[in-house]
Symmetry: C2
Subunit: 232 residues, 2 copies
Amino acid sequence: MAQEETDKAIGKDMEKELASYFPFWEKLEERQRADICSHAVSSRYSKGTFVHNAAEECVGIILVRSGQLRVYIQSEDGRDITLYRLFSGDTCVLSASCFMEEITFDILIDAEEDSSLITVRPDIFRSLAKENIYAENYIYKQTAERFSDVMWTMQQILFMSFDKRLAVFLIDELAKAGGDTLYITHDQIAKYTGSAREVVSRMLKYFEGEGLVKISRGKVCVLDRKRLKELT
Amino acid sequence: MAQEETDKAIGKDMEKELASYFPFWEKLEERQRADICSHAVSSRYSKGTFVHNAAEECVGIILVRSGQLRVYIQSEDGRDITLYRLFSGDTCVLSASCFMEEITFDILIDAEEDSSLITVRPDIFRSLAKENIYAENYIYKQTAERFSDVMWTMQQILFMSFDKRLAVFLIDELAKAGGDTLYITHDQIAKYTGSAREVVSRMLKYFEGEGLVKISRGKVCVLDRKRLKELT
């Protein structure tokens, strides 16, 4: 009995939380809400673990309670390109793309920090989107927003010269990390900026020569943020 | 009177045509249909002319009656990357992106062949999408489809080595043109594949050396389609 009451209380909390993520919540019928609630799962992912791999398992819609996720694509030979990141309060619908026939590409998602998520199974959304135009519209609208994120990233990669891109990356990371030092390897920077490690090392060396940064093992210390910003 | 009747007849034809492009047509009220009809314009663009430039003028939703359009993005220094092409029967909603706040990037559109289009002014769709969830959903769903096209293109550019990309391009163009000869310059190939002309010329020369193609001024003749295909 006590357990049942606890379950009910948890159910109520989950419903409240889902309502805060989904703007179409009030357009749903009672049974549709109940259906989503009963298929929404709280889960935790440790930093560095895999959250979603479309080819193997379609995790469904992701709601980020806390932490940080990285969404990326990967080439056959293992190079990857970061499309965008997800932070607390964000939603990811592309991780449920297995049920959207319009989306024909695969993404991967890693936890970059210890993360707490709610995931809603994709098959639930498949039937919900068929029944309820507001739910369907929410998903496509979210997709359109991600399209813009991805286009921005692609333009960075395809059109910006790499000194600009590296400067943008370092400044963005500093803004997130605080302070002047980034604990990051050249390999990681290459991964995140979609370049080769050699290119990153060469450009960092060039930046060091210019007095913009100081490089040491696993660390990049920014010495002249103002001039680095001018590069962007 | 005669003129009025002709106008009415044209109006009826236009309504029929719009209904065939827009799956949400039957979900509209009479006045909404009339509103779209009265703001839908038939127009012709000659090969090589500009159809849409988001920064200068947002042309609105494009329906392609006949011809061929190229949708692309452009860097500040004038390099461009083809995102996708539009053929007879296709719709483009990104050319109305000025009214979608979720879409924050600009595209350009050229007529690659003499083209006959219907365009529907973006402000009409802005209010329609606010009033009618089915119209809104159509637009975002179309956007999601284009997202997939663009991701495919980006993966080609970012992940495939250029020999593969060039082979894919030549085979795709052959399929459209028929026969074995493409009337295209190295400059044009570079533009369409998002590479430098020098890179294209070098790779074509390499293909020629391999007996895959024969190059002459403004022309690429494919000699060994089977082996070219194997490259892809």
